[in-house]
């Protein structure tokens, strides 16, 4: 089996605050193979976003964070890289999509100008004309009807769905091998969200990009991911191929999440039945899930 794009082993995270130390991740292990789309699902506050920010390397910079465990990206131990080597990966080899597309774009620059900055990350000397050509091609790929107009627009002039497509195109602009999507489009209309997710799936499939897809909603995950990790209070409780998980959820917490899937996909945070002691039961790994080296 070839090198996984991302390999996380026994990742621990705690924050030192005025009131004491808060443990947020209690040893998470997961991997994403080349071109694989993996979902990380759990209720809000379970530690999904912090995991994403540890991978991209933003959280390590904050004061009072303590990180432990192995974070390996394309075979390289991220924590052993120098600051600048790590920095060089961001926006080039790995990129990220955020929850609210419109407020994640800079309000005072045009979409085109922001594309130019992103493209400069991998081609520092790229000129405006070239950048706009490349951006147009990228926007074409996410089925934006009039790329020239969109490039000349400011984010507030575009719809949420349009900005979401812009974000997807930007995230893929430098051909990253890993895309992290943290609850993408949760701020959007349900149908628009479904449309852009399908679009995103098609594009990443074409590019062979590995994806870590984060959501609090199992329903959204079903169409998108090859495999699912379920996280509860900083611990993984179940992992399986998506079909297997939906056919046969085994962990009590997964079953609770499953029951909480809203009738129509998307919308607010699903109501999860009251936390039960049983949610703390140990990790359940379905067969042939392929966690190399075994998971905790």
């Amino acid at each position: 089996m070839s090198e996984p794009t991302l390999l996380i082993r026994d990742l621990h995270l705690s924050f030192r605050t005025y009131t004491g130390i808060i443990d947020v991740l209690h040893g998470i292990s997961l991997h994403i193979a080349k071109g694989e789309r993996v979902a990380l699902v759990g209720e809000s506050g379970s530690g999904k976003s912090v995991t994403a920010r540890l991978i991209i390397g933003l959280l390590q910079m904050a004061r009072g964070t303590r990180v432990d465990g192995l974070l390996q990206f394309e075979g390289r131990d991220l924590e052993k890289l120098s600051q600048s080597e790590r920095h060089a990966l961001r926006g080039t080899r790995m990129s990220m999509i955020f929850q609210d597309p419109t407020s994640s774009l800079n309000p005072v620059y045009t979409v085109g100008a922001q594309f130019h900055e992103v493209l400069r990350r991998s081609a520092p000397g790229i000129g405006k004309t070239q950048a706009m050509e490349r951006a147009t091609a990228l926007l074409d790929e996410v089925l934006i009807p009039d790329p020239a107009r969109v490039l000349a627009s400011y984010p507030f002039q575009l719809s949420g769905g349009m900005n979401q497509r812009v974000m997807i195109a930007m995230a893929l602009a430098n051909e990253p091998s890993l895309l992290i999507a943290d609850e993408p489009g949760t701020a959007l209309d349900v149908t628009v969200q479904a449309q852009t997710l399908k679009l995103m799936r098609d594009v990443v499939t074409r590019h062979g990009t590995s994806v870590l897809f984060i959501s609090h909603n199992l329903g959204v995950v079903r169409e998108f991911a090859d495999r699912v990790y379920v996280i509860y209070k900083g611990r993984l409780v179940e992992q399986a191929r998506t079909d297997d998980l939906f056919d046969n959820p085994q962990h009590p917490y997964t079953q609770a999440l499953m029951r909480a899937i809203p009738r129509i996909t998307g919308g607010g945070i699903p109501d999860i039945e009251e936390a039960s002691e049983r949610f703390h039961e140990p990790l359940i790994v379905h067969e042939s899930c392929g966690e190399p080296g075994g998971a905790r």
């Binding site: 991209i56 933003l58 920095h87 060089a88 990966l89 961001r90 926006g91 080039t92 990129s95 990220m96 955020f98 929850q99 609210d100 407020s103 994640s104 774009l105 800079n106 309000p107 005072v108 620059y109 045009t110 900055e117 992103v118 990350r121 400011y154 507030f156 002039q157």
Partner: protein, 341 residues
Amino acid sequence: MSSVTRLILKRLGISLIVLIGVSMLIFTIARIIPGDPARIALGPSASPEQVEVLREKLHLNEPLPLQYGYFLADLARGDLGVSLYTNRPVTADIAQFLPATLELVLLAGTMMILIGLPLGILSARYRNSWIDGTVRVISILGVSAPSFVWAVILMLLFAYFLPLFPVAGRISDSYAIPSVTGFLLVDTLAAGNIAAFANALSHLVLPAFALALSGIGQAARLTRANMVETYGRPYIEMARSYGFPERKIARRYAFRPSLIPSLTIIGLDFAAMLGNAFLVEAVFAWPGLSRYGVAVILRKDLNAIVGTVLVISAMFLIVNIIVDILIAIINPRIRLSQRST
């Protein structure tokens, strides 16, 4: 017509209306406060007949609306009347004193922007560090004392105890510089006299800095506050996730958007300097319009009061228009909304 031209025309129109309103107000106020301007001008020894002649000449015996009509008619010809204090046309007085004030206020405004904004940016970028702490103490000091207090303190420190700068005036008497624009910094350069330029500048530094200090503090605090808020926005995190350098994030992602709310207040502070200049000019014996304004108010010099107030209001409005244009330039929302109307 471009959106910015449209904005300028609109604001000019509004400003004209405001100026007319101000002129009515100050015209009325100047005439209803107690004291007979003719008597004050002629002094206690003048005979009642002499006073009466002057009152007649100044139309003071006519009803107020008619007086205002005379005033408007003169104004249309660019005539603001004669000052009873200097016995010269008010326009000539203003032309003489205004450049000194503008020079002072413009340098103070430049200091406010070139010192205040960078301090605020540093403070926000390194928030909660010692840099932030230092900047915040400086800005609190700046805003907590009025300009004339700083004028006195600075003068004592840097002109008296440590004589780095001259105590008063615009330029040393030994230089004879022909007045072309009235701006000494410009005139000395035009005359090719570098020594005189340096001398004028050294006279200008302390009063301008005293006038600028509270603005510097205000600009730094405001920039910091708005930038710290902007640093919490999602697009900052997105910029970081793309690995943009922190310097670029500070400038293009945190500072640019937060300049929009800061700019309005910075503009108002800048305009307020015209008023604050009164006392700073008094402390530094600066021969500017503000000092002239105080003198003519004390002598109830009607024409001069109205003229001075009008000119200062016009300056205020011009500053506001400039600020509005700057905001429209940096804020695409406003720029684009102008286009559709």
